[in-house]
Every structure is written in C-alpha cells, then in structure tokens.
C-alpha cells in the first residue's frame, strides 16, 4: 500500500560567491532537509555550488506566457528609459 508520493522541489544553486542562485532543476523529496541532501547529490557532484536553495514547487507562482503581451509589451515603447534616448553634444565625454 503506497501512501503519499514525495512532493516535487525546485533546486537553486549559487555556483560561487558573487553570483546569484540559479535554477538547476527539480527533484522529489519527503521534506526540505532531504531535498537539500538530494540536491547536493543530484546537482553538485563536481563542485557546481557553494549554496543551495530548495523550495517546494507548489509554492512557486509563475506568470502565464499567454499573458506575455500585457505583462511585458508596455516596456517595449519606453525608449526614454535607455541612455541612448538622450542627445548630448559630442564634446561631452564620459556620461
């Protein structure tokens, strides 16, 4: 009689200090501690990391690609957010 399946966890690894944690993949584990240990074995067998985060996948809220238009398109016509939008005389260096 199988009871419950181990939940799914997402694994984030910082490969060295100075860099951010990056998503590496996922795995199944009964609890957070086991998820960390499994992540060590599955994703960092060759010194790929100095720090691991695990979070149960069900706690992640993801944006829906179908809404990419309303989410991301408004940024496309805001060229004034970029330095190249502004005209400067040629004499001005280093700005």
């Amino acid at each position: 009689m199988a009871t419950k399946n181990w939940p799914l966890w997402e694994v984030f690894v910082r490969s060295k200090n100075g860099l951010e944690h990056r998503h590496f993949g996922s795995l199944h584990a009964a609890d957070a501690e086991m998820a960390l240990e499994n992540a060590r074995d599955v994703y960092t067998r060759r010194n790929e990391g100095v720090s691991i985060w695990v979070v149960e996948s069900k706690h992640i809220t993801a944006s829906n690609p179908e809404h990419n238009g309303e989410l991301f398109e408004p940024a496309q016509d805001k060229v004034y957010r970029h330095p190249t939008f502004y005209d400067l005389p040629d004499e001005v260096k280093h700005m």
């Binding site: 199988a2 419950k4 181990w6 799914l8 993949g25 795995l27 609890d31 994703y43 067998r45 690609p65």
Partner: protein
C-alpha cells in the same frame, strides 16, 4: 479553440522553432509535440536508470580501488542523468509515478543495449568506451534541441559523459597491454559489444519512422546512419591504437568517401531484443521493479516522518 485557430498556433509554433527559439514548459505547444517529448525524454531517462544495472554488477569486484571509485562515480552519474531527465519530463505535466509505472509495466522502452550481460571485467571497459561513446554521439546534438528543459539537461549530461568514455577506454588500454589472457579478455568484450553498440544508434534511415518530424523539432539533427558512420570512423582508429581488432571482416577504409565501409548489421537480433527477447530483458526488469518494491517502506517511512515533523512544528507555533 477552433480548428482554424489551432492551425494558426501550430504554424507560429513551427516558425519559432525554425528561428531557433526555445520552447518552455508553460508555452503553448501542439499535443503531438508534448507527447513525443514525453515519450523520448522518459525513454532516455529509463535508459539511464536501467543502464546502471549491467555496470552495478561489477562494482564490488573492481580489480583496484582506482577502478572502483571511477566505476562507482560513473554509475552514480547515470542515476543523476536519469533524475535530470525525469524532472525535465515532468515539466510537461506527467508525474514521476506515471513514468515509473510505464517503465515497470513494460509499456515504455529503454535502450536495447542494456539487455546484454556483463560477464567479465573487460565489459566495464567496453561499455564505457563503446556504449558511452555511442551515447555521446547521440546526445551532443540534443544540447541544442528545441525544448528548453531537455536541452539544458543534455548540456549537463554531456559534460559528465566524457569521463565515462575515458575511464572505459583506459580499462581497455590496460587489458590490451597486459598478459595474453587479459588481452584476450579485452578482445572478447569488444567482440560482444561492437555490434550491439552499432545497433544502439537506431534502425537504418529507411526503417526509421519518426525522423522527419524529429528533425523539424530538433530532436534529431543527424540521421541514425550518419551517427553510426561517425561512431565507426571515430572508434576504429582507437581500436587499432591499442591493438584490438574490430569484429567485422568487411570493415575497410574507403578512400573516396574518407570513411569506413562496414558489414551488415543483424537487425533481426536488434528487433528481438527490442521486443523483449534479449539475453537479459527479464532480469533487468526484475531487478528494477524489485528495487522499487523493496524501497516502498522506506519511501513511506520518510513521508510519515516528514508529516510528523511538520505537525510538531505547527503545534509549537500555536
């Protein structure tokens, strides 16, 4: 959605792939794309997992500590490869349990090569050299396949594979330069693994059904026959270098093609093994299913423990 709308979405989807854009799990995709990927990726994962069995057989009998740590690390890598691939497959909305069930019930296939027995230590050399060698040739093009999670898993896998092949070839070098008995053992392993390794690259192009669609989706970038030729051309000089003979009397360098001509492959044997009549199909499934069933109480106990800890934390928080 109307049929017209779906047609439209499909056309846009194909264009994205043609532009070398990646497809991510939550993107819209044709049902056939999803199903084909679930099938291919899970078969790939199953192969990594079942692939541990023939080599696991020799870990306790490795002839030295150096060989033992290498083999142990390799087999552990294969477990890792299986896990990367299962989790990448799960992003398509299939559960790990369903995937295991497909493997254990025999509904899903795994690579036919793992249904051959490993009878001597030299088989560890031949497998690393030939089987991992052929796997690399299959996998490198998949690093740029269209489905993001599959491509990323393959990049990790390919980085790890090259040590697998080298440790195998090193075993062969040592045996080939050893006593006459050791050299004979290496030659015997090559004799037994050569043809199954060629078959492992898949049926001939004429017999291969999914190729065109797979090429479009970048699940395949070269045909089976091209990959096989690449494998032969790269491996023959490696055999020559250590004084072993490829067991193919028709093998001959073709000056014009700048490639080796080779003899006929026994495809009957290949299809027999695929259909479940290879020397070890039953044994492999029995070992795999047995390990899963014997592990059940451990999985249940871990879950019960986790729940108990959780309850305790919640009580303390009140």
């Amino acid at each position: 959605m109307s049929e017209e709308q779906i047609k439209n979405l499909e056309a846009q989807f194909e264009e994205r792939i043609a532009r070398d854009e990646k497809i991510e799990p939550k993107d819209w995709m044709p049902e056939k794309y999803r199903q084909t990927h679930i099938r291919q990726m899970s078969q790939h994962a199953h192969s990594e997992i079942v692939g541990m069995l023939p080599e696991g057989n020799w870990i306790t009998r490795a002839p030295s500590l150096r060989r033992k740590v290498a083999l142990l690390a390799k087999v552990q890598d294969e477990a890792g490869h299986g896990l990367y691939l299962y989790s990448a497959t799960e992003t398509l909305g299939v559960s790990r349990d369903e995937l295991y069930e497909q493997l254990h019930s025999g509904k899903a296939k795994y690579s036919s090569i793992f249904n051959y027995p490993t009878v001597t230590w030299a088989d560890m050399g031949a497998i690393g050299w030939l089987v991992d060698g052929a796997a690399i040739i299959n996998q490198v093009p998949l690093c740029s396949t269209s489905f993001g999670p599959y491509a990323r898993a393959m990049v990790r896998v390919c980085k790890e594979e090259s040590f697998h092949q080298r440790q195998g070839y090193e075993i062969m070098i040592k045996l080939a330069n050893g006593t006459p008995e050791q050299k004979a053992m290496a030659q015997d392993a090559l004799n037994r693994w050569w043809w199954p390794s060629l078959m492992m690259l898949g049926p001939t192009d004429a017999e291969s059904i999914h190729t065109e669609q797979s090429m479009k989706w970048k699940l395949k970038r070269k045909s089976n026959d091209e990959l096989r030729q690449q494998f032969i051309d790269q491996t023959v000089p490696q055999a020559d270098l250590i004084g072993l003979t490829i067991p193919d009397p028709d093998l001959k360098w073709n000056e014009e093609r700048q490639s080796y001509d080779f003899g006929d492959i026994n495809w009957d044997e290949f299809w027999q093994v695929v259909k479940g009549h290879g020397p070890c199909n039953k044994e492999r499934m029995k070992a795999r299913v047995g390990a899963w069933e014997r592990g059940e109480w451990v999985r249940d106990a871990a879950m019960a423990y986790a729940e108990k800890q959780q309850e305790r934390r919640e009580k303390q928080a009140v």
